[in-house]
């Protein structure tokens, strides 16, 4: 293994043409004066201006280390204190240098050069642009001599504190569940604190409610990882969206089947519940589960055992259930679509995840998180310029930032912007385009507007005040679903009816509709009016 040192010519410390230079400690020369270290090659980086002085240094190295080959590499900084210039020059050198790690080991000498160069060398070595260890030289304390040297292998665990300086120390417990995102919403933080305690102490089912994209699946996975880190579970994280489980396959996907249970069941299938043994089963959109599956799931929760399809023998699985839903499950219980006993079983720890627009103060930390995630996944660090950042943030946290798909939208927006920036900074143009894209996406007309569109064309709608549009939309919606005008009136004026003895609600409604040129009889019962 050959040993190669790469270092900068130190214009001050390495310099000196006079004979007395040998009386001084010169860091680069000193590396070659140690009895217990041999260097096969030196790649000395030197600016054009100092080349002739560096040649003196090279000759001096030849005297004390005749076995060493020295290569002079020209690297001229117009301003050696300019971080950008120094960093990019050194990086360019690192990228074109033919490193041969099978046969050579590399040492980056960080004692010479401006402090800017030293910092850049450290950063490039730490980032493995230089596949090297660092070497540091220092003069003798009292006597004369070559001084000391120290080889620093940043991969050694004793330098972990340097390597992990970005890792959030509090990535424990609650912070872990938040993926280290420093959320500021008090209610959200409180909820996470409690989930942490529950996750660590309890094996009971957890029910996560919240709109689509609010992070139910992500949180479930973090709960699993937290439990695994605390060594409370040994099994796997198994995740399934119940909306994708349809028909006969649903049963066997969840609970497995035995060979020959039905046509096409060629082999045994263990099923997801058994896959989650000693682990966590996350059932997303649990409200979509069919009634048979609900019954079997309840059994599995209560007895930790169930019957695979076609089997006459029970199998066991001990898993923790986390269920996710974006529907009101109580409503489903009332309509008879969901088993009350199953919901009761799952309802011990129920949390409602707020939507992103409900916690605008958390948008910024989540934006930073998404940027970091993009950097991790694509190996490319992307940032906003200041103006673009402010612009995006004010849109995102303002009333126009609807985030109807929550984190899914934010994730997509960051991915698009980071991709379009092509490794450069995200600028105002990219943010402007993205805001437009998001607004178009969210501008899908609301139900009330859809209803209005049936009765009015665009020009007519533009003539109606927003104030009236909202009311009219809802009124029409009720009328469409009602069987008669009287029924619609009863619904629409229910509150005032309760106070008054009698009222002609139908008339009141007819007059209201006439104001907008609509005929009540055309609307009631969902007949729909011909566009006027």
């Amino acid at each position: 293994m050959k040993r190669v040192v790469i270092g900068l010519y130190g214009t001050t410390l390495d310099g000196g043409l006079g004979r007395r230079r040998w009386q001084r400690w010169r860091p680069t020369v000193s590396l070659f004066q140690h009895e217990d270290m041999m260097i096969d090659r030196l790649e000395l980086l030197v600016s054009e201006d100092h080349r002739s002085a560096a040649e003196v240094l090279v000759a001096d190295i030849g005297t004390v280390a005749p076995e060493t080959q020295v290569n002079l590499n020209t690297m001229t900084f117009s301003d050696p204190w300019d971080f950008e210039e120094v960093f990019s020059s050194l990086m360019a050198f690192a990228q074109q240098y033919p490193f041969n790690q099978d046969q050579e080991e590399y040492l980056i000498h960080i004692t010479t050069g401006t402090h800017v160069a030293q910092i850049c060398l450290f950063l490039l070595t730490e980032a493995r642009y230089f596949p090297a260890n660092l070497i540091q030289s220092s003069p003798m304390r009292k006597e004369k001599g070559p001084g000391y040297y120290k080889i620093i292998d940043l991969d050694l665990s004793k330098y972990d504190s340097i390597a992990s300086r970005f890792a959030k120390e509090q990535e424990e417990g609650a912070a872990f569940l938040k993926s280290g995102i420093e959320t500021r919403n008090a209610r959200f933080n409180q909820m996470i604190d409690q989930i942490e305690k529950v996750a660590i102490r309890s094996k009971s089912p957890i029910l996560l409610m919240g709109p689509t994209g609010a992070g139910k699946s992500h949180l479930a996975k973090r709960i699993f990882q937290l439990k695994k880190m605390r060594r409370q579970i040994t099994g796997q994280f198994v995740e399934v969206n119940c909306a994708t489980l349809r028909g006969d396959a649903a049963m066997s996907t969840l609970f497995g089947h035995v060979r020959g249970a039905f046509t096409g069941a060629i082999t045994d299938r263990p099923g997801l519940l058994r896959g989650a043994h000693n682990g966590v089963l996350f059932l997303d959109e649990v409200g979509e589960l069919g009634s048979d599956e609900q019954a079997m799931l309840l059994r599995a929760l209560e007895d930790k055992s169930f019957m695979p399809v076609g089997s006459d023998r029970e199998v066991n699985s001990d898993f923790q259930l986390i269920a996710g839903t974006n529907r009101d499950l109580w409503e489903k219980v009332h309509s008879g679509d969901f088993r009350e006993d199953l919901l009761a079983r799952m309802n011990l720890w129920t949390y409602k995840l707020p939507s992103l627009s409900e916690r605008p103060e958390d948008l910024e930390p989540n934006l930073r998180y998404e940027l970091e995630r993009f950097a991790r996944e694509h190996g490319r660090i992307t940032t906003f310029n200041k103006e673009a950042y402010q612009c995006f943030l004010s849109f995102a946290t303002g009333p126009k930032g609807r985030w109807s798909a929550n984190f899914r939208d934010l994730n997509a927006a960051v991915t698009r912007m980071a991709t379009l920036s092509g490794g450069n900074r995200i600028n105002e143009d990219i943010v402007g385009e993205e805001i437009g894209r998001l607004r178009r996406q969210w501008e899908r007309p609301e139900k009330a507007d859809q209803t209005l569109a049936k009765y009015f064309n665009k020009e007519e709608l533009a003539d109606i005040d927003l104030f009236d549009r909202a009311q009219l939309g809802k009124v029409l919606e009720v009328c469409e679903t009602a069987r008669s005008l009287a029924e619609a009136g009863r619904v629409l004026f229910a509150a005032s009816r309760a106070k008054k003895a009698s009222a002609n609600d139908s008339d009141r409604l007819r007059k209201y509709l006439m104001k907008f040129g609509l005929k009540a009889s055309d609307i009631v019962g969902g007949k729909g009016a011909p566009p006027s």
Partner: protein
């Protein structure tokens, strides 16, 4: 395969140099272990590496473990080959110690050799050029061994850059050497060399040594060296005698006070004169291998050092000889070698 414990006796670089030289001379493969064990920086350092590699080069040896810091190595030599050699030593390592390693193999080679060695020529803990030329080589010549040595440039630590040019005429059968007891206390000469340093330093050394040893002023010489690459200083006392002109040297070191160096040097010379023998401590070390190669020889010297004892033990491991080391009076010994 001969196994050599590198930690025996003095346990330093001398064991390695002697073992390697004798390995070539006796065509004995060796395995050296515990190289410089117990030293602050154990194993082969750069100067030892250079010596072993030079020896390997002249004998076309197969080596294993001859790497920096290695604490065990194997050395399997072929016959020494004459020729032109050039060795450059890093860290201002001593050219004289490399010469010591390759000299006898080249004297036993198939033809004359020319060797250039670059590095330090005046190092602490190593013979100086003046000692080799004035004191040692004349004795080799008496044994029929012809070595010419020229100092092309002085090299001092920590820079080195000195240059030694050597011509070796081989002779496989050196003659025995017998030096009789007694010293006729001939003329003493003090000399000092300064390179890139104030002449005052040399003057002080000469005054101190000269006064302590009562050397007349006209036999004190100061030389200003102009062609050395780095700064340096050495000074010496030479003592003439009909058998041997002994040389005692001190190397100026930046950390050491000149005055103390001069005092120590004068004391060493005085002790030698008091012993009344022809051979000083360091010369005794140098004479062991040649008289062992001749198979017969003897000399009178001061109390042998650990270095000398170690060297004797190493030589006896390779050559069919026995050394005898008998005290003759206070601080005077007779060392003799004979075939076993």
């Amino acid at each position: 395969m001969l196994f050599i414990d590198g930690s025996q006796g003095e346990g330093g670089g001398q064991v390695i140099r002697s073992a390697v030289a004798l390995s070539i001379l006796t065509a004995t493969p060796i395995s050296v272990t515990h190289v410089r064990a117990g030293r602050k920086k154990p194993g082969l350092l750069r100067q030892h590496l250079t010596a072993v590699k030079a020896a390997a080069q002249i004998s076309n040896a197969h080596t294993e473990g001859v790497t920096l810091g290695s604490q065990a190595f194997r050395f399997e030599p072929a016959a020494p080959r004459s020729g032109r050699y050039h060795f450059a030593i890093g860290t201002a390592g001593s050219t004289m110690l490399v010469l010591q390693t390759i000299l006898y193999p080249l004297l036993a080679a198939d033809g004359p050799s020319e060797v250039v060695i670059e590095g330090g020529t005046h190092n602490p803990k190593a013979p100086t050029f003046e000692f080799i030329q004035r004191t040692f080589l004349p004795l080799l010549e008496r044994m029929g061994l012809q070595v010419k040595i020229r100092l092309a440039r002085r090299g001092y630590i920590p820079v080195g850059g000195g240059r030694l040019e050597i011509e070796v005429t081989p002779n496989p059968n050196p003659q025995p050497l017998h030096l009789r007891d007694g010293h006729d206390k001939g003329e003493l000469t003090a000399q000092a060399w300064v390179a890139e340093l104030p002449a005052k330093i040399g003057h002080q050394q000469l005054t101190r040594v000269g006064d302590m040893l009562s050397i007349p002023r006209e036999r004190r010489f100061l030389h200003q060296v102009n062609d050395a690459i780095g700064a340096g200083n050495s000074f010496e006392v030479s003592i003439a005698d009909t058998q041997v002109t002994e040389t005692f040297t001190a190397i100026g070191e930046i950390k050491a006070r000149s005055r103390h160096l001069a005092t120590d040097l004068a004391r060493e010379a005085k002790a030698f004169l008091a012993a009344g023998v022809p051979v000083g401590e360091h010369l005794a070390d140098q004479l062991l291998i040649p008289i062992a190669l001749a198979g017969d020889g003897s000399f009178y010297t001061v109390t042998p050092s650990l270095h000398t004892h170690t060297n004797i033990r190493i030589i006896e491991q390779f050559l069919p000889v026995r050394f005898q080391c008998d005290p003759v009076r206070e601080d005077a010994y007779r060392i003799a070698v004979s075939a076993r």
